[in-house]
């Protein structure tokens, strides 16, 4: 689910250990004047203690004691900054330990991903993996930031060669929009201000691009999807409303609606909020819907328009990122959470596993290990009302939960399903 708006851009950053990702974020915060005096003083002191000559901007973002001590990033960190044009939430995902798991977590809510490439090293396998995961998670906008341009003499030809390499690779991806920016995070070139060192680059600085990139909210244009979260009752006022957050499209009072999985039909009487009734509600607003007829609706049900329903199936195929030490195998059972709906699922088959080096599927695979990605067929205890992930990230995603440890062990993106036989 993303919450893109004119006012808010959610982005994820990905890069390997030494690509300078933390330094880039530190630079963005520093140059956009979001680092406050006490934070900077803290980083200056810490840099001195660690014997660093320059202020080590990565110390701004590494929050846990173990991270500062070991000079690594362990977990996704969220950073906030705002300019006059936009508010930003950065999910900073570490590049090495449990890399897939962290990147998938950070990317799941992002509208844009910044992928760092070291100008000296060019497009490595790791950069390709980052781009692959970003597009797998449905992030529509990619920025390839070619960092450490200062170390290659701000050379245009080096940058162009990297752009050509990446373009060749990206032809196989579904990313709609890829922008390339040559930067030096350490010295600030093309991060906030345009660089004096690279007059050959005619594009925007990274921040200018982040401030102006058009993040169209596809969900509003999509079909109406309202997963019911909670039933609000007020007996005195004879009030019974279905509360939830729109996961797609627009609902209006008077609309004919279909409730899934029951198939009940009714109409929207009104749409309420604490601030009063609405003439229309669009994704991702949280609202309360009141229906004309007394139909049976509860948490986990989905309200939509009868002319544009989602698919309904118990047998589904999903691309799964596996996040647990114990592998996923055919026959295993898990709890699943899909929108507001809880169910159980059996793994019928591991269809394939993506080789993270070549990014090609291996159909011989019979399991998914920690940080593996592959296609899986699931059978669920109750039918799921879903859209393919490529159409709707909110109704197309699910998580797998280990019922003995209660841990979240897998992230699933639904590709499709076998249609339910019509009720007799």
């Amino acid at each position: 689910m993303s919450l893109a708006s004119a006012g808010l851009l959610r982005l994820a950053t990905a890069g390997s250990v030494d690509d300078g990702k933390s330094t880039l974020i530190g630079r963005l915060l520093l140059d956009s004047k979001q680092v406050l005096a006490d934070q900077l003083q803290h980083v200056e002191e810490a840099s001195r203690r660690r014997g660093a000559g320059m202020v080590d901007l990565s110390l701004l973002v590494d929050g846990l004691r173990a991270e500062r001590e070991q000079g690594i990033t362990i977990d996704v960190a969220y950073r906030y900054f705002a300019t006059a044009r936009r508010t930003f939430i950065i999910a900073d995902t570490p590049g090495h330990v449990q890399y897939t798991r962290n990147m998938v977590t950070g990317a799941s809510t992002a509208d844009l991903a910044v992928i760092l490439v070291d100008a000296r090293k060019g497009v490595l396998e790791q950069s390709k993996r980052h781009a692959y995961i970003a597009t797998l998670l449905g992030i529509p906008h990619l920025v390839v930031a070619v960092n450490k341009m200062d170390l290659v003499g701000y050379d245009e030809e080096t940058f162009d060669a990297i752009v050509r390499d990446f373009c060749d690779f990206a032809r196989g991806l579904s990313a709609r929009d890829i922008v390339y920016v040559p930067i030096s995070a350490k010295h600030g070139d093309n991060v906030v201000e345009r660089s004096q060192h690279m007059p050959w680059y005619g594009g925007a600085s990274l921040l200018e691009h982040l401030e102006t990139v058009e993040v169209a909210d596809d969900r509003m244009a999509g079909d109406a999807r309202f997963p019911v979260q909670w039933v609000i009752r007020d007996h005195d006022a004879d009030f019974r409303g279905y509360a939830g957050q729109l996961a797609g499209g627009v609902l209006r009072p008077g609309d004919d609606v279909l409730v899934l999985p029951s198939g009940a039909r009714t109409r929207i009487e009104r749409i309420e909020t604490f601030d009063g009734p609405l003439e229309e509600a669009f994704a991702p607003l949280s609202v309360t819907v009141l229906l004309e007829d007394d139909v049976d609706v509860s948490r986990g049900d989905l309200i939509c328009h009868p002319g544009a329903p989602p698919q309904l199936a118990r047998e589904i195929e999903a691309t799964v990122c596996w996040m647990a030490d114990a592998p996923l195998r055919a026959g295993a059972r898990y709890a699943i959470k899909h929108a507001t709906h809880a169910a159980r699922a059996i793994v019928d088959e591991v269809v394939d596993r993506v080789d993270v080096h070549t990014l090609t599927p291996d159909p011989q695979a019979d399991r998914l290990g920690l940080n593996d990605i592959g296609r899986v067929r699931l059978r669920t205890s109750r039918p799921l009302a879903f859209d393919p992930y490529a159409r709707n990230r909110a109704t197309g995603s699910l998580i797998l939960i280990d019922e003995s440890s209660n841990d979240t062990v897998g992230a699933g993106m639904i590709a499709g399903g076998a249609p339910e036989a019509p009720a007799p």
Partner: protein, 301 residues
């Protein structure tokens, strides 16, 4: 009507969704209400999530006994206005029962003692989820914390072993004795909170606005001169125009010099400030580089 949401609408909608998920998936939630600005925003979000129904949880305040009287008065007024139930968990009672021992000396604070009172109250009432107003922009350890933050049966947080949190699919499954802390304001900044208070016209305790107060200087901060703090030799109370950026104990919350007497001036002051709220006003975070991380691991808010 605008087809797009402002960033405050987007944050509000996300927070309402989080609160409803907790109500639906956990059996005994509680909302921690201190009378501070963040929990004031939480209460408004709870109204937006659950009205015209009642809140599906009680409110709880961990009262150190060293709170600002203006804040306690505000707390009781706001709770009465909402018609919801407030539980007060008292640090003084924890001391009287011998669960914790009062710190001694001029720098004594009840800040750390609150953790025991909080965990005891969670166990006593059988709460399995506690809403808190913490934000990720406040502090480095908090920047790493999940919205649904799992606590083991000792109330502890394990920062290296957090559940992945994907999309808006929160996993609230826990075992008996464990609980989750839930932070609907995770993605809000201090400025967002003040702008929201202004947009929603929420009442906040008077100490957030500039007022004359008898203060003394210690470690570069201004503290209220009160019965809860002993002066050290050479510390001289004086009158100054101050306001508070955070609301904690009188013993460990510093005031800032300010003439911002209304909401608009406070918002303008926060937008222009060059120091973080915790760096400027909280002695409890200054103990060490990882002061907050250590307290969170032990079960703090």
């Amino acid at each position: 009507m605008s087809a797009r949401l402002t960033h405050l609408q987007a944050l509000e909608s996300e927070a309402i969704h989080v609160m409803r998920e907790v109500a639906a998936e956990l059996s005994r939630p509680v909302l921690l209400f201190s009378g501070g600005k963040d929990s004031i925003v939480l209460l408004r979000l709870a109204e937006k999530a659950f009205r015209p129904g009642c809140f599906p949880f009680a409110l709880m305040h961990v009262d150190t006994g060293h709170n600002f009287p203006e804040v306690i008065a505000f707390r009781d007024r706001r709770v009465a206005e909402l018609g919801e139930r407030l539980i007060v968990a008292s640090v003084q009672e924890s001391i009287d029962r011998g669960r914790v021992a009062e710190e001694r000396g001029p720098r004594a604070s009840r800040n750390r003692l609150q953790t025991t009172t909080l965990l005891d109250a969670i166990a006593e009432h059988g709460f399995d989820a506690a809403f808190g107003g913490a934000r990720r922009d406040e502090e480095r350890a908090r920047a790493k914390e999940r919205i649904f933050s799992f606590r083991d049966d000792f109330g502890g947080w394990d920062p290296k072993n957090q559940r992945p949190e994907l999309w808006n699919l929160y996993n609230g499954r826990i075992r008996r004795g464990e609980h989750v802390r839930v932070f609907p304001l995770s993605n809000w900044t201090e400025l967002d909170v003040w702008e929201y208070i202004a947009v929603e016209r929420l009442e906040v305790p008077s100490i957030y606005f500039a007022h004359e107060r008898e203060v003394f200087a210690r470690d570069g901060m201004l503290y209220a001169h009160s019965e809860f703090v002993q002066l050290i030799d050479g510390e001289q109370p004086f009158l100054a125009s101050v306001r508070y950026r955070t609301v904690g104990d009188m013993s460990c919350t510093g005031a800032v010099r300010s003439s911002a007497a209304d909401l608009d001036s406070v918002v303008a002051e926060i937008a222009a400030t060059r120091v973080t709220e915790r760096g400027e006003t909280r002695a409890d975070d200054r103990v060490s580089e990882a002061a907050m991380e250590d307290r969170k691991i032990a079960g703090y808010f």
